[in-house]
């Protein structure tokens, strides 16, 4: 099967699911339901694409197919920020506190953290694995810190944090959504300048330098782009980077190519398919009694065990 055929199949599947999500079980109040569903589906498409895209790029610059950008600790930082706000001001304040302010603070802090991490470590050491290791330690540190505060606070307040702990597309703020799209769009535009280097980067650092890629500069820019995309997506819908590992690997398996133009587009489509299908199951079958993270982690886990078993037999 040719790559273009595979991409068409994925596109048809994605569009089909989107339409199914929008128009099935519409009921009589469609003028109320439809706009809400449209908002949800837009949020899914945007964040799903951003996660898929940044995971593929991240795996290429680290030359490793089992890492996700969450390893640098952005997810845990997000939870820490949320926990810290509630710990200091209480949950009533969170609901009082303007969502826009919360969004701004979180995005800025997360991007700042990624940049600092990059600046202090990568600049000096010139080794991306060192950066990942430190990121991992920071991530663990942030989660422990959040957990510590979560244990101390009132159980009712903890409920509020728990909401933030799972990704959800049910309450996406429209204004923030547009801001996010703008930020992600800018990051993507900037990325186009570096798109041609990805195939070469997947051959490894030495080969990339040999072929004339200004490795440090290119990797730094890509890293910043990833940090922006991940931060915005996480703040918009909650920690959702887990999805990246699954969709990137499904895309590699399905498309079997090294060309990033195809891979990135494919991974985005797989991501949209997974999220829309997951959301359909959550809403229509489980009637909101579970979250989409649970569904996708379950399916992803099963798929991974399948991959492992198949590999070990071969």
């Amino acid at each position: 099967m040719r790559n273009s055929t595979k991409l068409i199949i994925l596109s048809v599947l994605a569009v089909g699911l989107v339409l199914a999500f929008l128009f099935t079980d519409l009921g009589s109040n469609w003028d109320y339901v439809l706009p809400r569903r449209t908002m949800k589906i837009l949020a899914i498409i945007v964040t799903g694409s951003a996660i898929a895209f940044s995971t593929v790029v991240f795996q290429t610059i680290t030359n490793n197919r089992i890492l996700t950008p969450s390893i640098i600790g952005l997810d845990s930082l997000y939870l820490l920020i949320q926990t810290f706000i509630i710990f200091l001001f209480g949950s009533t304040n969170l609901t009082l506190m303007n969502q826009h302010v919360n969004f701004g603070i979180s995005v800025v802090l997360m991007i700042l953290f990624a940049l600092l991490l990059y600046h202090f470590l990568f600049k000096r050491e010139g080794n991306i694995y060192f950066l990942l290791l430190i990121g991992l330690i920071f991530g663990t540190f942030f989660s422990s810190l959040s957990e510590f505060m979560q244990v101390l606070i009132d159980p009712n307040e903890f409920q509020v944090i728990q909401d933030a702990m799972f990704a959800s597309f049910n309450n996406v703020n429209t204004d923030l959504f547009y801001v996010s799209v703008l930020l992600m769009g800018l990051a993507t535009l900037y990325f186009l300048k570096f798109e041609k280097y990805l195939d070469v980067l997947s051959l490894g650092k030495d080969t990339a330098i040999n072929l004339g890629v200004e490795y440090d500069r290119v990797v730094q820019r890509l890293f910043i782009i990833i940090a922006v995309l991940i931060s915005v997506a996480t703040v918009l819908v909650g920690p959702i980077t887990f999805l990246g590992l699954l969709v990137a690997n499904v895309a590699y398996e399905f498309l079997k190519t090294y060309r990033h133009r195809v891979l990135i587009f494919g991974a985005m489509l797989v991501s949209i398919i997974a999220l829309v299908a997951g959301q359909l199951i959550v809403e229509r079958i489980f009637t909101f009694s579970t979250t989409i993270s649970v569904i996708i982690n379950f399916i992803g886990g099963v798929y991974f065990i399948y991959l492992l078993l198949r590999e070990s037999r071969a």
């Binding site: 030359n63 490793n64 197919r65 070469v200 997947s202 490894g204 080969t207 330098i209 072929l211």
Partner: protein
Amino acid sequence: MIKIKNLSKKYNEKTVVNNVSVNIKKGKITSFIGPNGAGKSTLLSAVSRLIKHDIGEIMIDKKEIKSWKSNELSKKVAILKQSNNLNVRLTVRELVSFGRFPYSQGNLSEHDWEKVDEALSFMELHDIEDQYLDELSGGQRQRAFIAMVIAQDTEYILLDEPLNNLDMKHSVQIMKVLRRLVDELGKTVILVIHDINFASFYSDYVVALKNGKIVRQGPTNEIIEQGSLKEIYDMDIPIKQIDKCRVCVYFA
């Protein structure tokens, strides 16, 4: 010409290359020899800007390596490292086509594909060009990587232990190819090599390093002689003349 002047490189506190000066002649094969840890690979990596040197300068065609634009330099100097593990699955032809990246930035023109074909025929890889690299033997893989470097069409070709893990037949094959690159296409080849007999047989110049310093350098027959080798390897190595070739009998 590549001129290396007073070059030093430290890893933390350990000096790996210490005040090295070498001139590398155009259109010749120059071999770097010396014991493990002598700094040969580090020197080669510095010349190909894979690592940054601390002190000294490397002039490539009269221009310091740091003032070269990376993309321009990749049309001038190509390096092949000793371990080439790929995370992606590529066919031989796809790999070789990557050698055109400095010129094409990923969009290969008619001319680029011609160069890829030339490189494939030069390495006699046409029959296996559509096979995946992970299905090939070590010798075939190494030939594919060399073909990529040839497609890059640079004046200088740097190779870090190109014979690593190859049997005699494939080693000879690779060395003959390097000789042809120099004699037929006028390239300049610089390689790090451990087997001094291959160095003796195929290279024009030899640079011997030990503990980060140059012990000897000069035309091959001046270096492959008992006194020099004793100094380089701390071993008494008898040398036999067989026809026109000097063979080092280092086994005992």
